[in-house]
Amino acid sequence: MLFYSPEFFPFFAIVFALYWFLPWQRARTWVLLAASFYFYASWNHWLALIIAVTSVVDYLVARGLDESQSQWQRKLLMGGSLVMNLGLLAYFKYMNFFLDSLEASLQAAGASVSIPTLQVILPIGISFYTFEAINYTVDVYRRRVPAERNLSHFLLFITFFPHLVAGPIVRARDFLPQIAQQKRWNWPRMQLGVEYFLLGLFKKLAIADRLAAVVDPVFADANAFSTTSVWLAVLAYSIQIYCDFSGYSDMAVGLAHMLGFKLARNFDMPYFAANISDFWRRWHISLSSWLRDYLFIPLGGSRGSSWQTYRNLMVTMTLGGLWHGASWTFVIWGVLHGSYLIIYRLVQQTWPERSRLGETTLGRVAGMALTFLCVSLAWVCFRAPDFSTAARVYGGLLAFRGGERLPMTQTGIIWIFIAVIAAHLVGQSPAWKRRILQQAPAPVVGLGYAVLLAAVILLVVQNSQPFIYFQF
C-alpha cells in the first residue's frame, strides 16, 4: 500500500474518521497503532511481527536504562540494543552484500569458492525505523529523554504509518510528547496537511514518474544515447530523486498534520544550496542530522585536528552512503560526498576570502550551480546498479557524440526543469507565499487545490514507479 494507491484512500478515510470521531486520546492512540500495523502488514505480516518484537525489546531496554544506576549495566543494555538493531539491519540488508563481496575477494585472491546467497526479504523501512530506535535508546542512555513508560506510545512512535516506511526519521524527544497531547480539530492544520499532501502527490506522480521515462532508458544503455541526452538524463535524475523523495516526505508530513502530529521538515530547497555543506543541511535533513548527532559528533566531529575532522567526515558520509543500499555504488556515492565536504573545508580554510565572494549574488548563483553539478554527478553512482553502468554514463557525459535521443522531447524536459525552478523560487520567497496563500480568497485557493489534483490526474503515468527510497 502506497500513499497514492487506490486502497490507501479508503484506508486513510476510515482511520481519519475514526480518529477524529473518538474523543479520548488513548483510544485514538490505539486506532493509530492498529492502523499502522495494518499498513505495514499489508506488505508482509511476518515482517510486521519483527518490527513489533524489536520495538518491545527496545522499550524494555529503555525502561532498564532509565531505572538502572549501574554504569556497566547501562552500557550492557545499550550495547545489547545496538547489537540487536544493527544486527537485524546487517542481516536483512547487508548479509548478501557482505557474502558477495567476500566471495569476490576470495576469487580475486585465487581461491575457488562459491558462497550461497541467503533468501531474505528486506523488511520495508528497516533502515528508517532502526535509526529511530537507535536514536531513542541512545538519547535515553545519555539521559536526554526519559524512557517512555507507555508501551502503546512507544510502539506508535516507531510504527506511525506516515513516517514508517520512508521517513522522515523522527526524534523521540520531538514525537513522543505529541502522542500524549490531546488533539483538537484545527482547520489551519487540516489545510496545511492537505496542501503538503497534494504538493507531494504532484511532485511524485506528475514530475518524478514522468522523468523516470527519460532517465531509465539512458541508465539501461547509456552508450546508445547522444551526449546531450545523457546530460539531460543525469540532470533529470537529480530532479526525479528530489521530487520522488521530497514528494513522499511532503505526503507523510501532510498526513501527520491531518492527524494532529507535526513531523520535521525533511527538505529545504536543497538545489538552492550555495555549497555542499549547505546542501546537507537542506537534503534529507532527518538523516543528515541523525548522522551528525549519532555518528559524526561521537567520532569527534570537528573538535580535533583538520585530519581528524576529514576522517570523521569521510567515515560518516561513507556509512551514510552504505545506509542507502547494499552496494558498492552507494558506498562510492557516500565517498564522493565525503570528498566534496573535505574539499569544501579545505577551500574555506585555505582561501577564507572566497567565503566573502560566496556572499555576493553572483558568487551565490555560481555556488548553487557548482553544487548542483557536483551533486548531480554523484547521483550517477547512486542511480547506477553497478560500476559498469556508472562508467558508461560518465563516459557518455564526456564523449561529445551523437546517438539516440530521449523518449521525451527536450522541450518537455526543459519545461519540467523550469516548473521545478519556479516552484523553488516561490518556496524561497516569503512575500510570494503570503501573496499566493494568505491573501488569495478561499475559493481561489480551493480551486488551486483542485487544479493541482487535476494536473496530477492528467500527468500521472500509466505505470507509476514505487518510491525510490522504499528500497532503503
Binding site: 504538493l199 521525451m408 518537455g412 519545461w415 478561499a442 480551493g446 490526474i457 492528467l458
Partner: protein
C-alpha cells in the same frame, strides 16, 4: 514552505477545495471518458475523423440519405493493398454515388485487433454495411505468440477496449514490462495532446504523426512502383525471414479462428455483411507453404465463414509476382487491380444484397 492561514478562512478554503475537487474529478473521471468519447490512438482517430467528415459531406450531398459504408480491417497488406479511390469508383459506378469506403487496416494486426477496431467503430456510432476482414495465415499459426496484445505505434489500447473485449470474453495480455512501451490511451492522453504535447512521451507523440497521418483520404497508403532490384531483394529477404518458418510449419490453431468467428457473429447480429478474404500473395510466397498447409487453412476459414453466414473470398492467387514489393505487399498498380476486382466480385454484390435486405425489412416494418 507552507504559510499558516487563519481558522475561518482555512475551513472555507478546505470546503471550496472539496467542492472543486469533486467537480474536477467528476469531469475528468466520469464525464470526459463517457460523454466526450475521447478514445485516443491517433492511428484510429485520425482515420475515423476523416471518415466521419466524408460521411457527413456525402450524406448532405444526397438529400440526407445515409451513405452505404464499406470498412476494411486487416494488416499492412490491406493498408497498402486496398486502393480506396479505385474501390469507391467501382462501387459508385455500380451502386450510385452514395457509397463510402474506409480503410482501418494497420500493420502487424490480427483478428484480435480487428475485433478491437469493430468495437471502437460501433462505440463511435459508425455502423458499416459491409466489413472486409483480412485473414492473414501467419496470424493463425501456432508458432506465433498466442497472446492477444496491442502493438505500440500501430494500434494502441484505448479507453473502452478492455470492456469490449471482456464483454466477449477475449482476454487481453499486456505484460507489466510492456505497459510503458504500449501507449494506453484514455482521455488524459487526448487532453495532453491538445494542451501540452511536449509532456507526452515521444512514442505517443510519434504515434500522433504516424502512418495514419500520411495515409490518403480513405485511410490507405499506396506504395509507389519502384523496381530497384536491391530494394526488392532486401524486401523479399525480410519477408522470408518473417514468414517462411510459419508457412512451413502451417500448424493452424483455434484461438484466432475463434476470435474471427466472434467478430463475424457480432457483425451478423448487427446486420453487417462480412467478407473474409485472403489477400494476394506472389508465387514466391505461395511456394513457402508446406504441402497441404494452405488448403488446410482455407478449409478452416471456410468452416468459420459458413457458420457465420459470411462471404469468403480467396484472393491469394489474383496477382503476379511483379505486382508485389516483397511477394505480399502490393505496389499501387497491383493494389488498384486487386481493389477493382474485389469490389466487382465481392463488395458490390454484398452491398447490393444489403440494400435489398434493408428495403424488405423496411417494407415489413411499414
Amino acid at each position: 514552505m507552507i504559510v499558516r492561514p487563519y481558522a475561518n478562512k482555512s475551513r472555507a478554503t478546505i470546503l471550496w477545495g472539496v467542492f472543486f475537487i469533486a467537480a474536477i474529478v467528476g469531469v475528468c473521471q466520469i464525464f470526459l471518458p463517457r460523454w466526450a468519447n475521447i478514445t485516443g490512438d491517433a492511428n484510429y482517430t485520425i482515420r475515423r475523423d476523416r471518415l466521419q467528415q466524408r460521411l457527413s459531406a456525402t450524406q448532405a450531398a444526397h438529400a440526407g440519405e445515409r451513405p452505404k459504408l464499406v470498412v476494411a480491417l486487416g494488416t499492412s497488406r490491406v493498408y497498402h493493398g486496398l486502393d480506396g479511390e479505385v474501390l469507391e469508383q467501382e462501387l459508385r459506378a455500380k451502386l450510385g454515388p452514395n457509397v463510402c469506403f474506409a480503410n482501418f487496416a494497420a500493420p502487424a494486426t490480427t483478428p484480435f485487433h480487428s475485433m478491437v477496431l469493430l468495437g471502437r467503430l460501433l462505440r463511435d456510432g459508425i455502423q458499416p454495411d459491409v466489413i472486409v476482414i483480412e485473414a492473414f495465415p501467419h496470424c493463425f499459426e501456432a508458432s506465433r505468440p498466442q497472446e492477444n496484445y496491442f502493438v505500440p505505434n500501430y494500434i494502441s489500447m484505448c479507453a473502452g477496449d478492455e470492456d469490449w473485449l471482456n464483454e466477449h470474453h477475449i482476454p487481453v495480455r499486456i505484460a507489466q514490462e510492456d505497459r510503458r512501451g504500449v501507449a494506453i490511451y484514455d482521455y488524459r492522453t487526448e487532453v495532453l495532446r491538445l494542451c501540452a504535447p511536449h509532456l507526452l512521451p515521444k512514442s505517443e507523440i510519434k504515434s500522433l504523426q504516424t502512418f495514419a497521418n500520411t495515409s490518403d483520404t480513405w485511410g490507405s497508403g499506396m506504395i509507389p512502383l519502384d523496381r530497384d532490384p536491391k530494394r526488392l531483394q532486401d524486401a523479399l529477404a525480410h519477408a522470408k525471414s518473417e514468414y517462411f518458418a510459419t508457412y512451413q510449419n502451417a500448424d493452424w490453431r483455434d484461438k484466432h479462428f475463434d476470435i474471427l468467428r466472434q467478430l463475424l457473429e457480432e457483425c451478423h447480429a448487427r446486420n453487417i455483411a462480412t467478407i473474409v478474404m485472403t489477400t494476394p500473395e506472389g508465387p514466391i510466397m505461395r511456394s513457402w507453404y508446406r504441402e497441404g498447409g494452405y488448403d488446410n487453412f482455407v478449409e478452416r476459414l471456410a468452416a468459420v465463414t459458413r457458420g457465420c453466414d459470411s462471404q469468403l473470398v480467396i484472393g491469394t492467387q489474383w496477382l503476379e509476382e511483379e505486382d508485389f514489393v516483397d511477394s505480399h505487399h502490393m505496389f499501387a498498380p497491383g493494389a488498384a487491380k486487386f481493389s477493382a476486382r474485389l469490389s466487382r466480385e465481392a463488395i458490390g454484390p454484398a452491398l447490393q444484397q444489403q440494400a435489398i435486405a434493408r428495403k424488405s425489412s423496411n417494407a415489413v416494418r411499414r
